[in-house]
């Protein structure tokens, strides 16, 4: 008994509950901003830490018998489950494909787990499954294992999907934020903020003159085209939740350098820009699901840009900025009127402004 008590004391002492600012999980802890980073750093990373996880990439790179494998997982809880330009199924397949792709891997196999709420119409599930099949075929990956759970009505929100994927990393490829150097060029493959605005418009029932479609798309083909064009690609990331601003901040931190982007160089459609003005959102923080940020040595920037423009998912590619020599790990934006401002990480969710 005495011994038991001591043991439990010991466990408590070695694993104190980390001090966070909240004693409950808030929605903002899942928002991709600094609250989520706080959670990852303080709760998850401290318990799970190992050299592979510590890199905090979109996927883990594993070396098994000399073969480099990329491994990633992602859960999808989007509401509404059907939205202009896709649905939760296509999103789940493309999301994992993209996380593998930006690791420099060729995605091969994915698993699919469904958590379904009692009462979901079979027809809707069928539509989701059909689109997952088509998405996997489009990206040339196979769905090879899966799981199904059903929860009581009210215990879930229609359907949640987890996908996990593996792919083979191209030989002799070294892409990492650590490779970034001053003057490296930052390229994006098209117009930002379309997924987030498509979702919120559908959720709120907003109607704009032109329907805004999610940019949800598989990026493996585009990544392949880029890596075939240049061996001077330093790193790639897909700016999903938290938007372009959050990913650039992560790159600035992990590369150790400042980043400068130009407002007028960032591709954005008039419709999305207008919707953001109305809703009080900053498009730099709005989610994308088919966007890719590429950082490349300046001498190869032009040819990578051309290769991207020649690909169906990169027609609107543009150079948006560069890595700077300063080492404050800060992202700055040159505004449309020529002044500069800091682009920081979002602290929680973007909340609509009132006026």
């Amino acid at each position: 008994m005495e011994q038991e008590k001591n043991t439990s004391n010991k466990i408590n002492l070695s694993c104190p509950l980390p001090i966070t600012n909240y004693d409950k999980i808030l929605l903002a802890h899942g928002g991709g901003g600094s609250l989520m980073h706080d959670l990852i750093e303080k709760l998850f990373l401290r318990q799970f830490e190992n050299p592979i996880l510590n890199t905090l990439h979109d996927g883990a790179i594993l070396e098994i018998d000399g073969l480099k494998i990329a491994f990633t997982t992602d859960s999808f809880v989007v509401d509404p489950i059907f939205f202009p330009g896709g649905n939760i199924g296509s999103l789940a397949v493309f999301g994992t494909i993209n996380d593998l792709s930006v690791c420099g891997a060729k995605p091969l196999y994915i698993s699919v787990s469904f958590i379904i709420e009692e009462g979901l119409p079979i027809e809707e599930l069928w539509e989701i499954v059909q689109s997952m099949k088509n998405s996997a075929e489009l990206a040339n990956v196979k769905i090879v294992t899966g799981d199904t759970k059903v929860v009581e009505r009210g215990k879930g929100d229609k359907i949640f999907i987890n996908t996990t994927g593996i792919g083979i990393v191209r030989p002799n490829l070294n892409i990492s934020p650590k490779n970034c150097k001053p003057n490296d060029i930052i390229i994006i493959n098209g117009r930002i903020a379309e997924h987030g605005i498509a979702i919120i418009s559908k959720r709120q029932g907003f109607e704009f003159e032109t329907e805004i479609l999610s940019d949800s798309a598989p990026l493996n083909g585009l990544v392949e085209a880029i890596l075939e064009t240049s061996d001077k690609v330093k790193m790639m990331r897909d700016p999903t939740r938290g938007g372009l601003a959050s990913v650039l901040n992560e790159i600035a931190i992990s590369s150790g350098f400042d980043i400068m982007i130009e407002e007028c160089a960032i591709p954005i459609s008039e419709e999305v820009k207008g919707a953001c003005e109305i809703l009080g959102f900053d498009p730099l923080y709005v989610a994308n699901e088919g966007k890719l940020i590429v950082i490349v040595a300046p001498e190869d920037a032009e040819k990578v840009l051309q290769a991207m423009k020649n690909h169906p998912y990169g027609k609107d590619s543009a150079i948006i900025g560069k890595v700077m020599p300063e080492t404050n790990q800060t992202v700055t934006l040159k505004t449309i009127i020529g002044t500069t401002r800091i682009i920081d990480m979002l602290s929680g969710e973007q909340l609509p402004r009132i006026c």
Binding site: T339, L351, R353, I354
Partner: protein
């Protein structure tokens, strides 16, 4: 984009800043009233384009920043009442009350819904007859017409489960309170364009006359603000103390008569506490007797709340009155950050502290 890009044109902006530079001979402070203007000033770093002699004071026009703690505490209590769905504009959710905020109340099981318009809250009341729907009515003259409309709509449709927790505020009494303060060094004012779109310019003419200060009703784009500043500077240099209209594409001198009629059909002027500033006479709007059945404060019982705790290190009051800048606060970026604000100006993107934090002064990004 049409009607926006023209107002973000750097050629016009530079031409005007040059003109301002030529006109200013001695140091002067201009207050922009509205948080939306503060946001634009910081977002485009407009201060860097102005001569050193011109300094901008960021005024109290961020509605979530000045909503009194007592009403936030009441909103939190309502949110935790199982009979109630509390609805609110989004950026109210993170504003700290005396214990926690509405996001925390939500995590604790409270029923809190973000709406874009109070009319959504009325629909919610219609769809959920077994629940009581309370709309946390915050904002200045800009949000009030739609809130008044929602109450009339509820009344006309016999919806009896819709209530307001009234925290609406009026801008001109606050401007007067600031100007009446002896310490005030405000030499000119940029009035909030959207508020004037609703209310017109008459109230401001009286203030300009009484306090001998030039006022320019100004829009929210960079060119609007630089134009507004240029107009104020010119009026100061010529000793003209009247009201001018920079935002003429939206503001009519008499305002929006229909909106004003709606407001005073439903609301009456009352004294209201402004967080960090104090009680300002006749600066709030509360449901009048005719609509008192919709008043959440009359319908629900509230536990006796602790007197709003002192905000410790926070100097929000001095910031909202223009005596100090956000970065002059010892807590700024240390104990006080957007993810754990000590005071309301760090919450909303329109709050001066949050705008400073976001766009100007990045602190060490430590997660510990």
């Amino acid at each position: 984009m049409k009607f926006l890009d023209e107002y973000r044109n750097y050629k016009y902006i530079f031409a005007l800043t040059k003109k301002i530079d030529q006109m200013v001979t001695s140091p002067l402070s201009i207050m922009e009233i509205c948080g939306g203007q503060t946001h634009t000033i910081l977002k485009y770093d407009l201060e860097s384009l102005l001569p050193d002699k011109v300094s901008l004071i960021h005024g109290p026009g961020c509605p979530v920043c000045v909503t009194p703690v007592e009403l936030i505490d009441k909103a939190i209590e309502l949110a935790l009442n199982p009979e109630v769905i509390l609805t609110s504009f989004g950026d109210m959710l993170r504003v700290p009350g005396s214990e926690g905020d509405l996001l925390l109340a939500k995590a604790n099981g409270g029923n809190v819904k973000i709406v874009y318009s109070p009319l959504e809250a009325v629909n919610l009341a219609k769809e959920n007859p077994e629940k009581k729907i309370v709309f946390f009515a915050i904002g200045f003259e800009t949000t009030v017409p739609a809130i008044a409309r929602s109450v009339i709509l509820a009344k006309n449709n016999g919806i009896k489960n819709y209530y307001l927790l009234c925290a609406n505020m009026l801008v001109p009494p606050a401007i007067e309170a600031l100007l009446a303060n002896n310490q005030s060094k405000i030499r000119g004012i940029l009035a909030a364009g959207h508020v004037c779109t609703v209310m017109g310019l008459e109230e401001y003419e009286q203030i300009a006359e009484k306090y001998q200060v030039p006022i320019v009703a100004t829009g929210f784009e960079p060119l609007d603000i630089i134009t507004g500043i240029s107009m104020v500077v010119e009026m100061i240099s010529k000793n003209i103390n009247t009201v001018q209209n920079e935002y003429s594409r939206a503001i009519r001198k008499e305002g929006n008569q229909n909106a004003k009629k709606l407001i005073f059909e439903v609301f009456q002027r009352v004294d209201r506490e402004w967080r960090g500033i104090g009680t300002i006479p006749k600066s709030g709007l509360h449901l009048n007797d005719k609509y008192s059945d919709y008043d959440a404060e009359k319908i629900f019982e509230f536990r006796s709340l602790p007197k709003g705790k002192k905000e410790g290190l926070c100097i929000a009051g001095e910031i909202l009155q223009g005596f100090r800048k956000p970065n002059e606060c010892v807590a700024f970026g240390n104990e006080c950050k957007p993810e754990h604000p000590l005071g309301a100006p760090m919450v909303s993107s329109e709050g001066a502290c949050a705008a400073y934090f976001r766009y100007k002064f990045k602190q060490a990004r430590s997660f510990t």
